[in-house]
């Protein structure tokens, strides 16, 4: 999904995006069958070897280099020459003691939590709405995918201009309602809210599509039976549909969580984490340390990144467990 789906909601966005994000199908089909005969084993590994080498060279090795970066005291010179002294967990200590650490962690939690809540709630409401087939419903539902398919930099720069203090449509609309202008991107009290709004917009399509297909899987007869028993639409949703949708909801939210944790593009393009760190998350902080300054601090940047990997993997493993449980109840 980062996107996907795809990057996910960049929130995935497609993410990257993945927003971004696309849900992978469960693996493990191979485990449920006995292994093939010996000659087939050779062929099997022949087909699989390129991807295994690829995983080693382009996933494991970069991750190892990143770990190595975080455990050494790199300067620009030693980065090129490759003889930086080993300093153990020094970079991690430096990062945790940094005054940016606590705000960045708080913003990451807020950004992820608030984004997920609204993406899911709005996505679910729209999924229920589109479940009643009406004229054009399929076409309109397809159009809802647009925010998720757009490159994140396109969405982010469009939102930047819409939220521009002087000439943005958002403040013009507030003016028509008689409300004063808001410095969406330049005021420390609004910048985090602004990037969250943009991220919710990007993440709604993913939630809508996944929850919609979850709704399709619920037998209509259950709702009809409840209707005969006198339940109104509201009761039918909360007593029948919502509980039955729980496994799909759990997976949507967990996957959304993993994809939202790593959102970087939107925030960086809209606010660069500012003003004065008011919208800095772990992802943007890591990038700024490594690439955002004239004097890069690769060690601390890598350390922040690795903390983020650990958090993402914890929730990722919870997701894989939930996914497996849904497959083999």
């Amino acid at each position: 999904m980062n996107s996907t789906a795809p990057t996910p909601g960049a929130s995935a966005a497609p993410s990257a995006t993945d927003p971004v994000g696309t849900a992978p199908p469960p693996s493990g089909a191979a485990d449920r069958f006995p292994h093939g005969p010996r000659s087939q084993q050779w062929a099997a590994w022949g087909f699989l070897t390129p991807v295994v080498i690829y995983l080693g060279a382009f996933y494991a090795y970069p991750l190892y280099r990143n770990l190595d970066l975080s455990l050494r005291n790199y300067t620009v010179r030693s980065f090129v020459q490759g003889n930086a002294p080993f300093t153990g967990l020094e970079n991690y200590r430096k990062v945790v003691d940094d005054p940016t650490f606590v705000p960045a962690l708080e913003h990451t939690v807020l950004f992820t939590g608030v984004s997920l809540f609204f993406q899911y709630a709005i996505g679910l409401a729209l999924a229920v709405f589109f479940a009643q087939h009406f004229r054009l419903s399929a076409t309109l539902r397809a159009l809802f995918l647009v925010p998720w398919l757009l490159p994140l930099i396109v969405s982010a720069s469009t939102w930047s201009w819409m939220l521009n203090s002087e000439s943005g449509i958002a403040n013009a609309a507030l003016g028509w309602l008689g409300v004063g202008p808001v410095n969406w991107l330049t005021s420390p009290s609004w910048s985090l809210a602004s990037v969250i709004i943009a991220n919710i917009w990007i993440g709604i399509p993913f939630n809508l599509v996944v929850l919609h297909s979850g709704l399709q899987a619920i037998p209509a007869s259950l709702n009809e039976a409840a209707a005969i028993d006198g339940a109104n639409a509201w009761q039918r949703f909360w007593r029948v549909t919502f509980p039955l949708l729980r496994p799909v909801s759990a997976i949507t939210l967990l996957l959304g969580l993993v994809y939202t944790l790593k959102v970087f593009d939107i925030i960086w393009i809209m606010t660069r984490g500012g003003p004065s760190d008011s919208s800095t998350t772990l992802a943007t902080w890591s990038y700024r340390l490594g690439f955002g300054n004239l004097l890069p601090e690769f060690g601390p940047g890598a350390a922040v990144g690795n903390l983020l990997v650990v958090i993402a993997l914890v929730f990722g493993l919870v997701y894989i467990r939930a996914q497996r449980q849904q497959d083999n109840p």
Binding site: D18, N66, P151, A312
Partner: protein, 264 residues
């Protein structure tokens, strides 16, 4: 119902409309308060600037996108066949690693790639960016191919085996042609993700001779020239692949989003 649906869709797509509207707005109307809701004095100047300045970026993005598609399909299709059909020892572990690989934030991968490419002198290169971008798509592609190829009827493959076809032959002559839909889905996503990639581009290729369109837009914004109609015109052009895919291949997109997230 339809009216309500149209209203919701219009609200959702308003930012997209606004992007198009601004891209057609004249420079002198850009700072007007309140802004024009419709492009009453539409101008194509922004698009002329795209043609003048952004074509090389678009070309680079196209090359990178197609390269990523090729790398992804070449690696992932055989792996999917193996995992789905040949049941290698340790295949379950490889599948699990594919799931985990998708969860690693791109910014961390970018930092690792930067360290490696720097020592190899591989920064600012199109092949380098293709390889980095392919990490966005390969795990997803393997999982899609595995799921899809598991669904091919076993009798077909058995019959071929009885007739003396080896695994390579079966893969080439039966499995690949039958996996057309999976190939389309994977290619679409691989292309879209690499076309949209900003993290790898900005870390591994900023300042390079051949830069993708995402950096083209980013430089526009960063230069403080604030020619928003040119920026938005570039954004519209950069969105075209997404629009084309939505119109021509919408069912593949939905298939990709829901693959595995929901069991049918």
């Amino acid at each position: 119902m339809t009216a309500l649906g149209l209203l919701f869709t219009a609200m959702m797509l308003f930012p997209v409309y606004w992007m198009v509207n601004v891209s057609l707005t004249r420079e002198r109307d850009m700072r007007k308060t309140p802004p024009d809701l419709f492009p009453v004095h539409a101008t194509l100047r922004g698009y002329r600037e795209v043609l003048d300045q952004q074509l090389p970026y678009l070309g680079t993005s196209l090359v990178i996108g197609l390269g990523t598609v090729a790398v992804t399909v070449l690696l992932a299709a055989p792996a999917g066949f193996s995992l789905a059909r040949l049941r290698p020892r340790g295949g379950g572990l490889v599948g699990f690693l594919m799931l985990v690989a998708q969860m690693i934030p791109g910014i961390i991968m970018a930092m690792g790639f930067y360290a490696i490419y720097l020592s190899l002198g591989f920064l600012h290169s199109v092949p380098g960016l293709i390889i980095a971008d392919s990490t966005l798509a390969v795990p997803f592609a393997v999982l899609i191919f595995t799921a899809f190829m598991s669904g091919i009827p076993a009798e077909l493959l058995q019959a071929a085996r009885v007739d003396g076809a080896g695994s390579v032959r079966i893969f080439r002559s039966i499995v690949l042609p039958m996996s057309r839909n999976a190939i389309v889905t994977v290619s679409l996503f691989a292309f879209l993700w690499s076309w949209s990639d900003f993290v790898f581009a900005s870390t591994l290729d900023s300042g390079g001779a051949h830069q993708p369109i995402t950096l083209g837009i980013y430089h526009y914004i960063g230069n403080n020239n604030q020619e928003w109609n040119a920026i938005m015109a570039t954004a519209v052009v950069a969105s075209l692949p997404a629009a084309v895919i939505l119109v021509l291949a919408q069912r593949y997109v939905a298939a990709g989003v829901t693959a595995g997230a929901v069991k049918d």
